[in-house]
């Protein structure tokens, strides 16, 4: 018989203490901690429960979408249509509630999100349309539908029950925050601990290997767009409920915010790498920054500039560290 097995590899595992590797992995956590320290020093009351609650509640819709967006990006996809779905779902939620009651409104809004996701999934996985183009196009269609349905005017819902989803509290915690936290917990469990999640990493990391391994690549890819559709719908409902209004002209910045959150956290735009907790870090970075700017009375326009710089900076840093790591 053959010689006993030997560890014939001569390559050494990369030193785990390498600074670049650690930065690559946890750099954004450090940025978040630094931001929090700065916020505490800059103004009193950052850590006050009321402020924390405001921060989280305001950012709940984007955060919920970001969880699903993490799945899409890990599967090497991209979804620009979540803003439009967000607006459509809010409009449908309010409009259908006015005519047929709250339950019908909620179901109709979720079905709208589901359909949007199925269409995106079909375009990307079934017809092999580039996800950027597919969702850019579907965003336009979805947005148009929202305007047609609402005849370009807001649906104002007086029914107080309509506002529960966005404003009610359970044991002192606003419902949107509970949904946000729940989405993050379920999302990170599914991604990190289930075969669905692992297969998704495989699809994003190497489509060919995934296919050869017997993974239904198309179905899995499509499913991530269904997730963003549903999460965008849920987020749109929460937002409409908070305001008591469903309107088609909201959500312009939602898609980019959600993608920014995921990317700042360190999930790769190339697919195959990332984590839901990273998106939580990304969300908190953006939310903290907005809160500090608001408290310091900085002009909104500066916030836009800062946000843009952070997104590009985070991706550039990631690219730089990756390059260093691979040489």
């Amino acid at each position: 018989m053959s010689a006993p097995p030997k560890g014939t590899g001569t390559e050494t595992p990369r030193a785990k203490t390498d600074v670049a590797t650690l930065l690559l992995r946890y750099g954004m956590v450090l940025v978040l901690l630094a931001l929090i320290v700065a916020a505490v020093l800059l103004y009193n009351g950052f850590l006050a429960p009321a402020n924390i609650r405001d921060i989280l509640a305001q950012n709940a819709p984007v955060g919920i979408i970001a969880v699903a967006m993490t799945f899409v990006l890990i599967g090497a996809g991209f979804d620009l249509s979540v803003g439009a779905t967000f607006a459509l779902a809010g409009t449908v939620f309010a409009g259908v509630t006015l005519n047929y009651g709250l339950a019908a409104g909620a179901v109709a809004a979720l079905v709208a999100g589901l359909l949007a996701g199925l269409v995106n999934g079909f375009l990307v996985a079934g017809l092999n349309v580039n996800p950027f183009v597919a969702t850019l196009g579907s965003a336009s269609v979805i947005s148009g539908l929202a305007f047609i349905y609402s005849k370009s005017s807001p649906f104002i819902v007086e029914d107080i029950r309509f506002q529960y989803l966005g404003t009610a509290t359970l044991a002192g915690v606003p419902v949107p925050i509970l949904i946000l936290i729940g989405t993050f917990i379920v999302g990170s469990f599914v991604l990190a601990r289930t075969t669905y999640g692992r297969n998704l990493f495989a699809v994003g990391g190497n489509r060919e290997a995934a296919r050869l391994s017997g993974i239904p690549v198309r179905g899995l890819t499509a499913s991530t767009y269904v997730l963003t559709g549903l999460c965008a719908a849920l987020a749109g409902m929460i937002s409409a409920s908070r305001l008591g209004v469903g309107q088609a002209d909201v959500g312009a910045s939602v898609a980019l915010d959600a993608i920014a959150v995921v990317v700042i956290g360190g999930t790769s735009l190339l697919g195959g790498e990332g984590a839901v907790w990273r998106s939580a870090v990304g969300l908190l970075i953006l939310a903290t920054l907005t809160n500090v700017f608001f408290a310091l009375n900085v002009n909104q326009n500066w916030q836009l500039i800062a946000k843009g710089l952070i997104v590009v900076g985070a991706v550039a840093l990631d690219a730089h560290l990756r390059k260093r790591e691979s040489t």
């Binding site: 018989m1 053959s2 010689a3 097995p5 030997k6 560890g7 014939t8 590899g9 001569t10 390559e11 050494t12 595992p13 990369r14 030193a15 390498d18 990190a192 601990r193 289930t194 075969t195 669905y196 999640g197 692992r198 297969n199 990493f201 495989a202 990391g205 190497n206 060919e208 290997a209 995934a210 296919r211 050869l212 391994s213 017997g214 993974i215 239904p216 195959g272 790498e273 040489t327």
Partner: protein, 502 residues
């Protein structure tokens, strides 16, 4: 020969990548006009040495000089001035440009700032004639075969008047006949006074081509001698540090049919292919590149939906698989030709092992501990160190990647195991382990179908060889028969090709 002046001199070259000490104090002289081979296992540092000579990698300490001139790392123009051209394993063609434009990439002949198209064509044809090549100047590079692209790269070096040509694994992707063309080309270059340094895993090629052979192990130079002083066995011994045993094939062939494959048409105009695979046997498929053996395996694995044929697995009729899942459901597994296509590089071996499957204890939940245990237990059977199972496969050597992939597919207990080029580009120690494990899989009852462009390897492991040419099977050679030799199988493959061509 030893009187020729020194073309390339490395002195005390050291290079580390992070914690890896890739090259340890290597000093090496290459004589002008010689063909010099660097051999060693994966990770031995030979490619890094080649990189240092080519100036692509800057050494930490030590120096490289070419015809007495120092080379600064990372200055491509330095190299061109020194007359060095490098042909990498991954070819550097611009796919949309023509063959001719690729040859003159970066040094287009110009007159008063304008491209001199006529001079360029003249030079291109001159080089072609000089080396007996026939490459159409106007063909876009993307339409050239791998072998032709490589010729174009070498022509680029010639056009740039390179005096030293560096080649990294030049023949790894070539078929037998293309290799011969390459070898002739290199000999012609040598006769014209060029100096050639190359890295190769193919020891027959090394022994046949090189004047001098340098062996590296673990980053250090362990031996450097004229080819006449080496034997294949002594080379392997110095490369690995001990003798390597390939198992003698003890046939485990039975009479039970695993698969009856009838009238498969992969390509529209080829003769349909039929073959029977028995439990416990290893069938070798051999043919030139483009002979259809890879397409045939892919078709069985469900990767060519337009192919058709009839199939019986274990006596049960089955529909011809139209996708990989159907194929796997029938108990067919394919180890793909290019391992990079079969592995998710960011993932470790454990995750790669389990993708597309249910976990051992729950259909949907991952249990890291159990999963790792299963993979660790199987690893030694394939010569894979259990301590490496959590290393991302992208950081493993080619040999270890192949072992991880083999272990993954073997664990699915395929009835019919299709193994395409399992030893391509991996070192000799890993080769033995990979080939030996195929024997054990057959002994466990699988029908194994294996291809390799290295015919000697095919002959070493299998019970019979089917020769492919132009999309069909043109001959069957059983082990022990008179024709079971490299020469007669080559003849069979070439002869059939020529008859068809008439």
């Amino acid at each position: 020969m030893s009187l020729a002046p020194i073309a390339v001199r490395c002195e005390g070259v050291d290079k580390s990548f992070g914690a890896t000490h890739a090259v340890k104090h290597v000093s090496l002289d290459v004589r002008e006009g010689s063909i010099h081979a660097l051999v060693g296992e994966n990770g031995a540092g030979k490619s890094t040495v080649l990189g240092v000579i080519s100036g692509r990698v800057a050494p930490d300490t030590g120096s490289v000089s070419v015809f007495g001139e120092q080379i600064r790392g990372g200055h491509p123009t330095d190299l061109r001035n020194a007359g060095i051209a490098t042909i990498y394993q991954e070819l550097t063609m611009v796919p949309a440009l023509t063959a001719e434009e690729n040859v003159f990439l970066g040094h287009l002949p110009a007159r008063r700032g304008l491209l001199d198209v006529r001079a360029r064509r003249r030079r291109f044809l001159e080089i072609c004639e000089d080396f007996g090549l026939s490459i159409q100047p106007e063909v876009p590079a993307r339409e050239l075969s791998v072998s032709q692209q490589q010729m174009v790269e070498i022509m680029r070096g010639v056009a740039a008047q390179a005096r030293v040509l560096l080649l990294d694994e030049p023949s790894a992707a070539l078929a037998e006949r293309e290799r011969e063309t390459l070898h002739e080309l290199l000999f012609t270059l040598q006769r014209r006074g060029s100096t050639i340094v190359f890295v190769s895993h193919n020891l027959d090629e090394v022994m046949g081509l090189a004047d001098r052979i340098t062996v590296m192990r673990d980053g250090a130079l362990v031996a450097d001698a004229d080819t006449n002083d080496w034997t294949k066995k002594s080379l392997i011994n110095r490369m690995v540090g001990h003798d390597v045993d390939f198992d003698e094939r003890q046939s485990t062939r039975t009479n039970d049919l695993v698969a009856k494959i009838t009238d498969v048409t992969v390509r529209p105009n080829a003769h349909p292919i039929s073959m029977d695979i028995r439990r416990g046997e290893i069938v070798g498929l051999w043919g030139l590149v483009g002979s259809g053996r890879t397409s045939f395996l892919k078709s069985l694995a469900g990767l060519m939906p337009s192919s058709a044929g009839s199939l019986e697995i274990d006596g049960q009729r089955a529909a011809w698989p139209g996708n990989p899942r159907d194929s796997q459901a029938l108990g067919i597994a394919l180890l793909p030709e290019d391992r990079r296509r079969g592995l998710v590089m960011q993932m470790d071996s454990v995750d790669n092992h389990w993708i597309g499957r249910h976990g051992p204890y729950s259909p949907s939940r991952i249990n890291r501990g159990h999963e790792e245990g299963v993979v660790k237990e199987a690893a030694p059977r394939f010569g894979f160190a259990p301590s490496r199972v959590r290393t991302p496969v992208g950081q493993l050597s080619g040999g270890n990647q192949q072992k991880a992939l083999l272990s993954k597919w073997a664990a699915r207990k395929p009835k019919l195991f299709l193994v395409d080029e399992p030893t391509r580009g991996i070192d000799v120690g890993a080769k033995a382990e990979v080939l030996n494990s195929l024997g054990r899989l057959a002994a466990d009852g699988a029908g194994v179908v294996v291809t390799s462009s290295e015919l000697e390897e095919v002959l070493g492991v299998c019970d019979r060889v089917l020769v492919f040419s132009r999309g069909s099977v043109v001959g069957e050679v059983p082990r022990g028969g008179a024709e079971f030799s490299v020469e007669s199988i080559l003849q069979l493959g070439f002869r059939a090709g020529e008859e068809d061509a008439l």
